[in-house]
Amino acid sequence: MKSLSVSKAVTALMLAGLVLLPLYSHLTGNIFILTLFTRIIILALAAASLNLIMGFAGLMSFGHAAYLGIGGYAVGMLAQEGVGSGFIQFPVAIAASGIYALVIGALSLRTRGVYFIMITLAFAQMAYYVASGLARYGGDDGLTIYTRSDFSGLIDLGNRTQFYYLCLACLFGVMLLIWRIVNSRFGLVVQGLRSNEQRMQAIGFPAKRYQLVCFVISGTMCGLAGALLANNTDFVSPAVMYWTRSGDLMVMVILGGMGTLFGPVMGAVVFLLLEELLSQITEYWALILGPLLLLIVLFGRGGIMGALGRAGRG
C-alpha cells in the first residue's frame, strides 16, 4: 500500500503544481514558463491518448503524431477559409481524427507486432506527405493561423492564462475519461486482449472490434491535442506529423510508465523539461538526453511510475 502512496503523492504534487503554475507565472512575471507549460500540457494530452492504445491495449501505434497534424490542420484550414468559430473547428478536428483513425485502424489491425508498428508509421508518413502537398494551405512551409479559435467570448484563447486553463481542463477531462474507460467493461476487454488475445477469443470476444474502437477513441483524443497545439503555436505544418514526433510521444509514454494513468503526463513533463533545460546548456542536448532516456528505460522498468512504486516499497 505504501508503494501506491508514494507515486500518488508525487502525482498529486505534480497536478497541484500544474493548477497553480499561472499564479507563479503571474507573481514572478515569468511568462515564458506559462508558454512552456501550455505546450507540455498539450503534449501530455497527446501522450495520454497514445498510452490508451499503447499501454492499455498493447498496440504499438507509431503514427500518433498524425492526429496532432490532422487536428491542427482542421483548425488551420477552417481559419484560412474564414471559419473562425472554435465550436466548429474543434468538433471538426476531433471528428476528422476519428475518421482517420477508423480507416487506418481497420487496415492496420489486420496485422500484429512489428507489422502493426510499421503500417501505422507508414500511414502517418503518408499523412505527412499529403500535408506537404497542400499548396493552398502552405505546403511544406506550413500554414500560419492569424486568429485563434473563437469561442464567442466564452473563453479567450488569446489570453495566455485562459488558454492555459483550457488546455489543463482538456487534459483533466481526458484523464478522467481514460480512467473510467480503463476500469469499464470495455477497458477490461481491451486489456485482456493485450494480455492474451487467444484466450479472449476463446471466451467469446472478437478482438478486432474492441481494438478498433479503442484506436478511434485514442485518435480523437489526440486530435483534440492537435487543435490545441495549432492554437498554441498559431501555426501548423507537416513537421508536427513527422515520425520523430510520434517517436517523442512514445518516449514520453514509456518514460512515464506505460499502462499507468498518470505516467504519460509525468513522462511528458520530464521529457520536455529536460529537452528545454539541456538545450539551454548545449546545442548538442540530444546527445545527453538520448543516453539519459536509455538508462531510464533500461534500469527503471515501468518508467517513472514504476520507479516511484519501487521507491515506496524499498
Binding site: S184, Q198, R199, M200, I203, G204
Partner: protein, 255 residues
C-alpha cells in the same frame, strides 16, 4: 434418436502432405462425456482446434445442436455454448483469478461496449465469477494474480473460466497435463461432478482418468478413427491394443 449435441462429419485437415485429420466422424450426445484418445501425433489437438474454430478444416462439417458451425470464428462458437480449456494453460496472467472468470461471464452478459461504469463493481459478474471459482475449489484464491497461482491452480482456473460462460459443451484439451498425482485425482473428482451438469469432450493422455470418466471413447491413430465405443469395448478392441502396443498394459489393466 435425438439430435446429437455435437456432430462431426467426414472432417479432413491436411498439413502439406500429412493428413492430420482423416475423414473423422463422431457424435457427442447431450449429457455425455466423450473422450478422445490416441498416441502422440494422432491429431487430437488438430481435431480440437477445428471444433473450437482455431483451425479451418479442408472438408467435412461440424455442427453444434443441429447448427452448422464449421466456419464460424471462435468467438461466435463460444456464444453458441462451446467453451474450451487449453492444453497449455492460456490465461490472462496479469489479471486476478476473479478477473479472468468475470471476463468470461461478461462475454455472455450483454454488450461489452460500456465505457464508464466500473466493471469490477458489477455484482452480477463478480457473483458469477465467485460461483465458478467456488465450483472448482478456487474460491479462496479469487484475488490472487494468475502469475502467482500454481500450475494445478491454473488448470482449475481454466475450468472455472470455461464454466463461467455457461457452456452446453465443454472441450477439455488435456486438463490433467502436467499435474501431480494428488492434483490429478482432484481434477478427476471435479470432472466427475461437472459431467452431471454439462456435456464434455475430453482429450487426455491419462488413461486411468479416461477410463474412469468416459461414457464413450473415440480412438484416433494417424488422424483416423480406429475405434469408438464404451470403455469396455475399447479395452477389448484388438486394433486399439495394437496401436497402443507400448502402452498396452495401460489399456488392459487400469480403469
Amino acid at each position: 434418436m435425438a439430435e446429437p449435441l455435437l456432430r462431426v462429419e467426414k472432417l479432413v485437415r491436411r498439413f502439406g502432405g500429412i493428413v492430420a485429420t482423416d475423414n473423422v466422424s463422431l457424435d457427442v450426445a447431450s449429457g455425455e462425456l466423450h473422450a478422445i484418445i490416441g498416441p502422440n501425433g494422432a491429431g487430437k489437438t488438430t481435431l480440437i482446434s477445428q471444433l473450437t474454430g482455431h483451425l479451418e478444416p479442408h472438408s467435412g462439417s461440424v455442427s453444434l445442436a443441429g447448427r452448422d458451425i464449421t466456419y464460424l470464428p471462435a468467438y461466435r462458437r463460444c456464444a453458441l455454448g462451446l467453451a474450451r480449456s487449453f492444453q497449455i494453460t492460456s490465461l490472462l496472467l496479469d489479471f486476478t483469478a476473479a478477473d479472468n472468470v468475470a471476463l468470461a461471464a461478461q462475454a455472455h452478459a450483454g454488450t461489452s461496449f460500456r465505457f464508464f461504469a466500473n466493471a469490477r463493481k458489477e455484482k452480477g459478474l463478480r457473483d458469477a465469477a465467485q460461483a465458478a471459482l467456488d465450483r472448482v475449489g478456487l474460491g479462496h484464491r479469487a484475488d490472487i494474480v494468475v502469475s502467482r497461482l500454481s500450475h494445478g491452480e491454473r488448470r482449475e482456473l481454466e475450468l472455472a473460466v470455461a464454466l463461467a460462460s455457461k457452456p452446453k459443451l465443454l472441450l477439455l484439451d488435456e486438463p490433467m497435463a502436467g499435474l501431480g498425482v494428488t492434483e490429478s485425482q482432484r481434477m478427476v473428482k471435479l470432472l466427475q461432478e461437472l459431467r452431471k451438469e454439462v456435456s464434455i469432450v475430453l482429450v487426455e493422455h491419462d488413461m486411468p482418468a479416461v477410463f474412469a470418466l468416459a461414457d464413450r471413447i473415440t480412438v484416433l491413430v494417424y488422424g483416423r478413427v480406429i475405434a469408438s465405443g464404451d470403455p469396455a469395448a475399447i479395452r477389448a478392441n484388438e486394433d486399439v491394443k495394437r496401436a497402443y502396443l507400448g502402452d498396452q498394459h495401460v489399456v488392459t489393466h487400469h480403469g
